[in-house]
């Protein structure tokens, strides 16, 4: 934190921060500026993502989605936010008033504190903690405290159900999440987010996900358990709307309700950023070494772009999963965790260990194996595109006969 502030200060005023006289005041000012910037980013990301998710969900469901407020409905999230802010803040009659009011703040702070350790590009991170990954997991667990408080204090049985499910879910899934990151930490030798990215390369076969079959398994496990931590379908048990009405936030309204979905969508960034920084190479720009990257401002912005694109792709996949899959049952959720994810993780940790000993990262054989793994991944993508083509052409002619229109309507074409 101090170093970053110093760097920025030198960049702005050409003198080190210590020599300016009011060093403490400058530090506090920087803290507030950075916190404000992060909050601004997180809140806006949550809003815009909510809009984009609705549009993508609409296209998956052959609908159009919100397109009325602003050009192409881009201001829909602002309208929704204002509407919720203007609504009456209802508190149920026999609710625990204090806990009910306080719960959203826990959810809010738990998630937004995670942004402190998340990187956005080379050197662009609020605080490059040496326990970065550990910190993120610890602090996001605070969310569940808020959810339990909200669910319990609502004095509603549905909300209580949601809270209990959330507790069970977080307790179970903390373990595979942490275990599935151990291979990465072993490969890097550090918990710092920046160091993890620096240990990888810009090209796909230099990413950790293709390091060995074991890290690939760990990547899948990490992705699944991150979904569970973020309460996304198929693990949205705490607010399963078809079972528990609306789960832990059944009784909330107005601004206090707004906090919950906002935190959920902000959490989407945390999930996606964690996945992309640990396994998908983070902000590493292809064909550019870290030394050259640190020297040029343009390349640093390029690294930010790379990171944002990677994260966005992961966000998109998480969204699409939500609109494809049904929800698991609560006992299946824990069963999946303890009988599949955790054993897979344990095997993968040992496997990675042995793999590291036999094929060290720098050797030619290791590179060849990484290329092979990348080849398998590429073949998988190729097969995926084939299936998409098959589904598209499956009913093309019949559709043209029925509707007298071509079914082709690409995603970038707006209604």
């Amino acid at each position: 934190m101090k170093e970053n502030a110093n760097l920025l200060f030198v960049f702005l005023f050409k003198t080190p921060i210590e020599g300016s006289g009011y060093s403490l005041a400058w530090y506090i000012l920087f803290v507030f500026i950075i916190a404000g910037a992060l909050l601004f980013f997180a809140a806006n990301f949550a809003g815009i993502t909510s809009f984009i998710e609705r549009r993508i969900a609409a296209r998956i469901q052959t609908r159009v989605g919100p397109n009325v407020v602003g050009p192409q409905g881009i201001l829909q999230w602002v309208a929704d936010g204002i509407k919720l802010l203007l609504k009456e803040d209802l508190i149920p009659d026999r609710a625990d008033q204090f806990l009910f009011r306080v719960a959203p703040y826990f959810v809010f702070s738990g998630l937004f504190a995670a942004f402190v350790a998340l990187p956005f590009g080379y050197g662009i991170v609020a605080a490059d903690l040496n326990v970065g990954v550990y910190y993120i997991f610890a602090i996001t667990s605070l969310v569940v405290v808020g959810i339990i408080m909200g669910g319990w204090s609502s004095n509603s049985k549905w909300a209580l159900f949601g809270a209990l499910r959330s507790a069970a879910q977080i307790i179970s899934y903390e373990i595979p999440t942490a275990l599935s990151l151990i291979p990465v930490i072993m490969l890097t030798g550090s918990l710092s987010t920046q160091d993890i990215i620096k240990a990888q390369g810009g090209l796909p076969w230099d990413w950790f996900v293709f390091h060995s079959p074991f890290t690939f398994v760990c990547f899948v496990v990490f992705f699944i358990s991150a979904l569970a931590e973020g309460n996304r379908i198929p693990f949205d048990l705490p607010e399963a709307e078809s079972e528990l009405v609306s789960g832990y936030n059944t009784e909330y309204s107005g601004f206090r309700f707004l906090v919950f979905p906002m935190a959920e969508w902000a959490n989407l960034w945390v999930i996606a950023a964690m996945v992309s920084l640990t396994y998908l190479g983070g902000w590493q720009v292809p064909f550019v070494s870290i030394e050259t990257l640190s020297g040029s401002l343009v390349l640093i912005f390029l690294s930010v772009a790379v990171f944002v694109i990677k994260t966005s792709i992961v966000v998109f996949i998480v969204m699409q999963l939500r609109w494809t899959l049904p929800r698991v049952r609560v006992d299946q959720m824990t069963q999946l965790c303890w009988t599949y994810l955790v054993p897979f993780c344990l095997v993968a940790i040992v496997g990675t260990m042995i793999w590291m000993l036999i094929f060290p990262w720098e050797t030619r054989v290791a590179l060849l194996l990484r290329l092979m793994m990348f080849g398998i991944g590429f073949a998988f993508c190729f097969f995926y595109v084939r299936r998409i083509r098959f589904n598209y052409f499956n009913d093309k002619t019949a559709y043209e006969n029925l509707k007298k229109k071509s079914p082709w309507y690409p995603i970038w074409r707006l209604p």
């Binding site: 993508i56 296209r59 998956i60 469901q61 609908r63 699409q320 494809t324 995926y384």
Partner: protein, 199 residues
């Protein structure tokens, strides 16, 4: 051990297949009709000619047989006929349809021998007051239609967009608003009186 790994494999494969289906929909045409302001073509063209919308009466061809009134299962049609004793001409003095009661079953229009009563394609007749939905098609007495040999009223072109019914409803609404402004207290008393009479 095999069922264990089989379960993993089938789960991953089925999710893969599902994702392929949903991705393919990102490249397919949405099926939404963006009613009411972004329609590709006017709604009237999208509805079929048999569409059973709000009823309309062409009083100029009504023969006053009252079949529609009798067949209606919920009594939403009311007809009054009068006879001039001197000229022996029969008049239609009242033809009211309570659209708020009507369930659009088509029994009345089906039995009409001259197609005087028929369903239009007009359907969005929402108002703020239920009483306004009683459409009165006769303003002044109308001489009843008599069958002539040269023309068959069934084959005439029907006004499916519901111009008459729309006009009547707008007119009635204006009238109601005017009278409501003028006779606000009177209205209330009369309503009260009616209730007392019932009780």
């Amino acid at each position: 051990m095999t069922p264990y790994f089989n379960a993993v494999a089938t789960t991953l494969y089925s999710i893969f297949e599902g994702m392929a289906v949903t991705t393919s929909y990102l490249f397919r045409r949405p099926s939404t009709i963006q009613y009411p302001n972004k329609l590709e073509k006017p709604l009237e063209e999208q509805l079929s000619d048999r569409y059973r919308g709000i009823l309309q009466v062409d009083t100029s061809v009504c023969i006053g047989c009252r079949i529609c009134e009798k067949t209606c299962p919920i009594d939403c049609i009311a007809i009054n006929l009068e006879k001039n004793k001197e000229t022996k001409e029969r008049f239609l003095t009242r033809f009211d349809i309570d659209i708020s009661k009507c369930m659009f079953c088509g029994l009345c229009s089906e039995n009409c021998s001259t197609c005087a009563i028929y369903h239009t394609k007009f359907f969005n007749g929402a108002t703020q007051n239920v009483d306004e939905l009683v459409v009165r098609f006769v303003d002044s007495p109308i001489v009843l239609y008599k069958h002539r040999k040269d023309s068959d009223p069934k084959t005439r072109e029907k006004d499916l967009s519901g111009v008459i019914v729309k006009q009547k409803m707008v007119k009635q609404r204006m009238k109601k608003q005017k009278t409501a402004k003028q006779e606000m207290p009177v209205n209330k008393i009369s309503k009260h009186k009616i209730k007392e009479e019932i009780l």
